[in-house]
C-alpha cells in the first residue's frame, strides 16, 4: 500500500476550471516534484465544491484547510509553507466578510455552515473519475440493499414514504410516478435521466454529474429495478462536455465491476444505459420534447396525457426524473425514508440545491433544507447584497419562475409557498437583484430567453411571447399607456392558461410576478417616463452637476454631436435635444460631474 501523508483537492468543476484550476493543478504537480514531495502528497481533482465565487478552490487534507482564489503564482509559496513547513498560508484563506476573520476550515465558513449537503455529499470530496472512492463512501450499498433485501414494491413504497418530489421544477411525487410506470402494462420499459439543464445561471445538475456521477447511475439502477426496466437514457446537454466525459468514465467503470449490464451483483437484474447528447434546445428539458429528441425527432412537446409512464419513449412506459431527483435516491434507500423525512417541511421533504447568483456576496452552489426562509439563503449563506446595497428582488426558478420582492423574503422555500407567491421551485436558479436592477429590464431579459427557446409549435407561446417582449420594449422607452399594462397582464394570463407545454405555461411568470410585486416601477416608466433604477437608457438623460463641473471642456471636446456647451472654467450644459446618450462625456469627465438621471 502506498501511503500518502497529504491530499490536495483541486476543484475541477466547470466554474473553477474557467477561473484557471487546470493551470493551478499543473503548477502544483511541478512544484511538488521540485520539492521532492510528489510521492507523499497526492493531488486529487474533484467535482464542484459550490463556492465558485471564490475559485479556483484548493483544499489540503488531512487538515481540511480551505484555500480560495489560488493562482499559479501562489503555488510555490503554498507548497513551501503548507506542505514543507506545515504552516497555513494565511493570505489565501477565506475571509469572513462580517468579522474580517480568516477562516481556515471548510465547514466553519458561513457559506457551508448553513447548508445541508446530502445530494452534494461527495461533490468536492471524491475523485469523480474513480469508482473506488464512490464505493468507499458507501456507494452502491443502496443498490446492493435493494437487490438483496427489497422487492420492487418495497422500493417504491420507501420512495413514496420519503416524500421525495421531482427536483426538475414541478415537484411531482417521485414514488407515485415510479408506481405509475411500474403498473403500466408492457414488457419493455425505460428510465430516463433528464440532464438537459438549461435555465440561465443554473448548474446544479452539471455539478452533480461532474462531481459525483455514480450517485446518478445508482439512483437510475434502483429506479429501473423498481419499475422493471432494463434500459435507460441519460439526456445530457452537449454543452456539458466535462459532465458527459465523467458520465462515460463512470459508466465504463460500473460496467467493468458488473454494476451495470447483465446479472448485476449476481442477480437476475439486468440494466444498461445510453448517453444521449442533446443539441442545446431549452425546450428539450420538457419531458415529451426530450423523448422526441431521443427518438430522433424535432424536439417539440406533445400534449399530455398520455403521460410517459404509460406511453413514453417509443410508446413504451417510461419514467423520467431529473439529475438531482435521481441523486437523492441512493441516500434515501441507504438511510431510510424516516431519516430523509427529518429534512424539509411536511409537504416538501429533503433538501434542494440552488445556484445562487446575481448581486449577492457569496455566489455558488448551495444545498439547503426545504422550507428554509429565503432571507437565510440570501443574507446568511449569500452574506447579503454586494456592496451592501439594498435588496430588491430575487428571481427563483429561472425563466419559468418569478421575481419575489422584499415582502416575500421570509417566505419558506418549498413547493407550496413558492407556488402561492406566483413563482416555482424550478430547477434551482436563484438570481438576487439589488436596487440598481430595473424590473422591466429583468422581465425583458427572461423573455428574450424564452422567445428564443420557444419551439414554435403552439400559438400562445410562439406569438404571445414575441408580443409581450415588444410591449416591454415600449415600456422601457416610456411608450404605451397604463391600459397597456392591463393588456400585457391579460396576454400573459392567456399564455399561462392556454400554452401547450410547461415552457409556454410558465414563460409569462417573470412578467406576471414583476407586474404583481413591482407594478409601480412599470407605472414610473410609462407615466413619468422614468426608470427608477436608472437602467433603461431611453429614459435617462445625461446631466452636468454645475457644482462639480470645473469647466475643463473635456466633455465638450469628445461630444460627437456638439450637444455640450459652456465657457472655459465655467460649468457646462448638455442640450438633451442634441444628446444621443453615447456616454462619451461621462467617460471623459475627470471630476465625476456628469450623471445619469
Amino acid at each position: 500500500m502506498e501511503l500518502v501523508r497529504a491530499h490536495i483537492l483541486v476543484c475541477g468543476g466547470t466554474g473553477c476550471t474557467s477561473s484557471g484550476s487546470k493551470a493551478v493543478q499543473e503548477a502544483l504537480h511541478r512544484e511538488l516534484k521540485k520539492q521532492g514531495l510528489d510521492k507523499e502528497v497526492k493531488i486529487v481533482e474533484t467535482g464542484c465544491h459550490g463556492f465558485c465565487e471564490q475559485g479556483p478552490l484548493v483544499i489540503v487534507y488531512p487538515e481540511g484547510t480551505f484555500y480560495c482564489q489560488v493562482q499559479v503564482e501562489d503555488i510555490p509559496e503554498l507548497v513551501e509553507e503548507h506542505l514543507l513547513k506545515g504552516r497555513i498560508l494565511q493570505r489565501l484563506l477565506f475571509t469572513e466578510p462580517l468579522t474580517q476573520e480568516r477562516v481556515p476550515h471548510y465547514k466553519e465558513i458561513d457559506f457551508y455552515r448553513k447548508q445541508r449537503r446530502l445530494v452534494l455529499r461527495n461533490c468536492g470530496y471524491i475523485d469523480p473519475e474513480k469508482i473506488d472512492e464512490y464505493i468507499a463512501r458507501d456507494g452502491y450499498v443502496a443498490l446492493a440493499k435493494v437487490l438483496g433485501e427489497m422487492t420492487p414494491e418495497d422500493v417504491i413504497e420507501e420512495i413514496k414514504a420519503s416524500g421525495l418530489r421531482g427536483r426538475g421544477g414541478a415537484g411531482f411525487p417521485t414514488g407515485l410516478k415510479w408506481g405509475f410506470a411500474a403498473q403500466a402494462p408492457g414488457e419493455k420499459k425505460y428510465v430516463v435521466c433528464n440532464a438537459d439543464e438549461g435555465d440561465p445561471g443554473a448548474f446544479m445538475d452539471r455539478s452533480i454529474l461532474e462531481g459525483d456521477p455514480h450517485c446518478v447511475l445508482e439512483g437510475m439502477l434502483i429506479g429501473a429495478y423498481a419499475i422493471g426496466s432494463d434500459e435507460g437514457y441519460i439526456y445530457a446537454r452537449a454543452e456539458y462536455p466535462l459532465a458527459i466525459k465523467r458520465l462515460k468514465i463512470a459508466l465504463a467503470q460500473a460496467r467493468e465491476l458488473g454494476l451495470m449490464g447483465d446479472n448485476i451483483l449476481g442477480t437476475d437484474f439486468c440494466f444498461d444505459l445510453h448517453i444521449k447528447e442533446g443539441a442545446g434546445a431549452f425546450v428539450c428539458g420538457e419531458e415529451t420534447a426530450l423523448m422526441a429528441s431521443i427518438e430522433g425527432q424535432r424536439g417539440m412537446p406533445r400534449s399530455r396525457p398520455p403521460f410517459p409512464a404509460n406511453s413514453g419513449l417509443w410508446g413504451k412506459p417510461t419514467n423520467i426524473n431529473n439529475v438531482e431527483t435521481w441523486a437523492n435516491v441512493a441516500n434515501i434507500i441507504r438511510n431510510g425514508a424516516k431519516w430523509y423525512g427529518q429534512f424539509g417541511t411536511e409537504k416538501s421533504k429533503g433538501t434542494k440545491v440552488f445556484a445562487l447568483t446575481g448581486k449577492v456576496k457569496n455566489t455558488g452552489l448551495v444545498e439547503v433544507p426545504m422550507g428554509i426562509p429565503m432571507r437565510e439563503i440570501i443574507y446568511e449563506i449569500g452574506d447579503g447584497i454586494l456592496g451592501d446595497k439594498k435588496f430588491k428582488a430575487v428571481q427563483i426558478g429561472g425563466p419559468s419562475g418569478g421575481c419575489l420582492s422584499e415582502g416575500q423574503l421570509d417566505l419558506a422555500v418549498d413547493y407550496e409557498s413558492l407556488g402561492s407567491a406566483g413563482a416555482i421551485m424550478g430547477s434551482g436558479g436563484l438570481v438576487v437583484m439589488d436596487e440598481e436592477t430595473c424590473m422591466v429590464d429583468v422581465a425583458k431579459f427572461f423573455l428574450d430567453f424564452t422567445r428564443a427557446e420557444s419551439c414554435g409549435k403552439c400559438t400562445p407561446c410562439r406569438e404571445g411571447i414575441q408580443r409581450m417582449r415588444e410591449m416591454l420594449q415600449d415600456f422601457s422607452e416610456g411608450k404605451g399607456s397604463l391600459e397597456d399594462l392591463d393588456k400585457l397582464e391579460r396576454l400573459a394570463q392567456t399564455i399561462k392558461d392556454t400554452a401547450l407545454c410547461g415552457l409556454g405555461q410558465t414563460a409569462p411568470n417573470p412578467v406576471l410576478t414583476t407586474l404583481r410585486y413591482f407594478r409601480d416601477e412599470y407605472e414610473a416608466h410609462i407615466r413619468d417616463k422614468r426608470c427608477p433604477a436608472g437602467v433603461c437608457r431611453a429614459l435617462l438623460t445625461y446631466y452636468i452637476v454645475p457644482e462639480l463641473c470645473r469647466g475643463c471642456t473635456a466633455c465638450a471636446r469628445v461630444c460627437p454631436t456638439g450637444a455640450i456647451t459652456g465657457k472655459v472654467k465655467e460649468p457646462h450644459v448638455i442640450d438633451p435635444e442634441k444628446c444621443i446618450k453615447c456616454g462619451a462625456c461621462m467617460e471623459a469627465c475627470r471630476f465625476d460631474s456628469i450623471i445619469l438621471k
Binding site: 406533445r302 414554435g456 392567456t494
Partner: protein
C-alpha cells in the same frame, strides 16, 4: 366497451372511455373551434383554439382535442374566460397574418376569417414585428405563401402520415418557426408529389391550388360529386364548377378514398375543355380519320375481330386491359375474351 358520462355546457353525454372532450362535444352537436385538428391525423394540439374550461382544473384551460373524458367531468366550452382566451389567440394570429382577404383565394373558406368573424376580431391590437417571406411558386400546382401560414401543421402531418412523403417539416424556432422543405429549397426541389392533400387541409390561404387561382372562390362554385376517371380506384371527388367550367377539385370525404386524391385527380382536369379532346369515335378512311357514330365504330371493331378469329383462330387475338378502367369493366373484358373470343390471351397492364 366501457362508457363514460360527462356534462358539456349542461348537456349529458355518454362516450366510450378514451374519447376526447372534442369528440364528445361533436357527438351532441356542440361546436368547438379548431384550426389544427383533423380526425384522421395525429394530434398537434398546437393552435389552442379549442381550449375549454373543466370544473376543478384551476391550473389552465385544457385543449378539448387532447383532453380525455373522465367520469363526471363538467366541461364549459363557451364561458367568458374561454372566449377571452380564444379572442386573444386569434388576435395573436392576426397580428402576424396579412389582412388581404379581399384578394385571398381562401376568402370564404378560411377558418381564421370565420373565427375572427365569430369572435369579433377586426384587427389585432398588437403591432410589431411580422414574419416576411417570399412566395414559393416553383411547383406547377401548389403555391406556398408562408406569411399567411398559422403553423397549424396539418400540411406537415398529412404529407407524412397519409401521403407518406414527408416533403415538408418545421424549421427554426419560436417566432421564426416555419414550414419548409429540405434545406429550404422550395417544393419544386423536394420529394413533393403534388397530391395537394395539404392544399385541401390548409385552413387559411397559405397553400393555394395554382390552376384554380383567380377562377372563383369557394362560395362561388358548385360542388359536383363525381368519380375520378383516371384509374380503377375510383376516387370520389368534388368538381368545383363555376359557370359550367371546372375551376378546381376538392375532397369529398367519407368515401373509400377518405377524400384524398393524387395529382391526377386533383389537378388533371384541364383536358375536359381541351379543343384537342375526342368527342366522337374516328374511323380511318382512305388514310384520313373521319368522325363516326358509336354504332359504326363498334360494328367495325366486332366485324374485324370476328374475321381474325375465323381466319386465324381465337389465339390470334390478345387483350390487354387498362388500370384506368374499373374492376367491373376488367371483369367483363376478360369474360369477353374467354367466353366470346375463346382465348386465354388476356392480361392487365398493372400485372407487368
Amino acid at each position: 366497451m366501457k362508457m363514460v358520462n360527462l356534462t358539456i355546457d349542461g348537456c349529458q353525454v355518454e362516450v366510450p372511455l378514451g374519447s376526447t372532450v372534442l369528440e364528445a362535444a361533436q357527438k351532441i352537436g356542440i361546436e368547438i373551434p379548431t384550426l389544427c385538428y383533423e380526425k384522421d391525423l395525429s394530434l398537434a394540439t398546437a393552435c389552442r383554439m379549442c381550449v375549454v374550461e373543466v370544473e376543478g382544473n384551476k391550473k389552465n384551460l385544457p385543449a378539448a382535442c387532447a383532453q380525455p373524458v373522465m367520469e363526471g367531468m363538467i366541461v364549459h366550452t363557451n364561458t367568458p374566460k374561454v372566449r377571452e382566451a380564444r379572442r386573444m389567440i386569434l388576435e395573436l394570429m392576426v397580428a402576424n397574418h396579412p389582412l388581404d382577404c379581399l384578394t385571398c383565394e381562401a376568402n370564404g373558406r378560411c377558418k381564421l376569417q370565420q373565427y375572427c368573424y365569430e369572435y369579433g376580431v377586426k384587427e389585432s391590437s398588437f403591432t410589431g414585428e411580422r414574419r416576411r417571406f417570399t412566395v414559393d411558386d416553383g411547383n406547377p400546382f401548389i403555391e406556398r405563401d408562408l406569411e399567411k401560414c398559422i403553423l397549424c401543421g396539418l400540411c406537415v402531418r398529412v404529407c407524412d402520415e397519409v401521403q407518406g412523403v414527408a416533403a415538408i417539416d418545421y424549421s427554426d424556432r419560436g417566432f421564426d418557426t416555419k414550414v419548409t422543405t429540405f434545406m429550404d429549397r422550395g417544393l419544386a426541389d423536394s420529394p413533393c408529389v403534388s397530391c395537394g392533400q395539404c392544399v385541401y387541409l390548409c385552413p387559411v390561404g397559405a397553400l393555394t391550388a395554382k390552376p384554380s387561382k383567380g377562377k372563383g372562390r369557394d362560395f362561388e362554385v358548385e360542388k359536383v360529386p363525381t368519380t375520378c376517371g383516371y384509374c380503377g380506384v375510383g376516387c370520389q371527388l368534388a368538381l368545383n364548377v363555376k359557370k359550367d367550367k371546372i375551376v378546381g377539385v376538392t375532397n369529398l370525404p367519407d368515401n373509400h378514398n377518405q377524400g384524398y386524391l393524387c395529382v391526377k385527380g386533383r389537378f388533371g382536369y384541364d383536358f375536359v375543355d381541351s379543343p384537342e379532346r375526342l368527342t366522337t369515335p374516328l374511323i380511318k378512311r382512305d388514310g384520313e380519320f373521319v368522325e363516326a357514330s358509336w354504332d359504326e365504330a363498334l360494328d367495325l371493331v366486332a366485324q374485324k375481330m370476328a374475321k381474325v378469329r375465323d381466319e386465324h383462330g381465337p389465339d390470334a387475338i390478345a387483350g390487354l386491359s387498362s388500370a384506368r378502367t374499373t374492376n367491373e369493366e376488367n371483369y367483363l373484358f376478360q369474360k369477353f375474351f374467354r367466353a366470346v373470343i375463346g382465348t386465354n390471351n388476356i392480361d392487365h397492364c398493372a400485372r407487368l
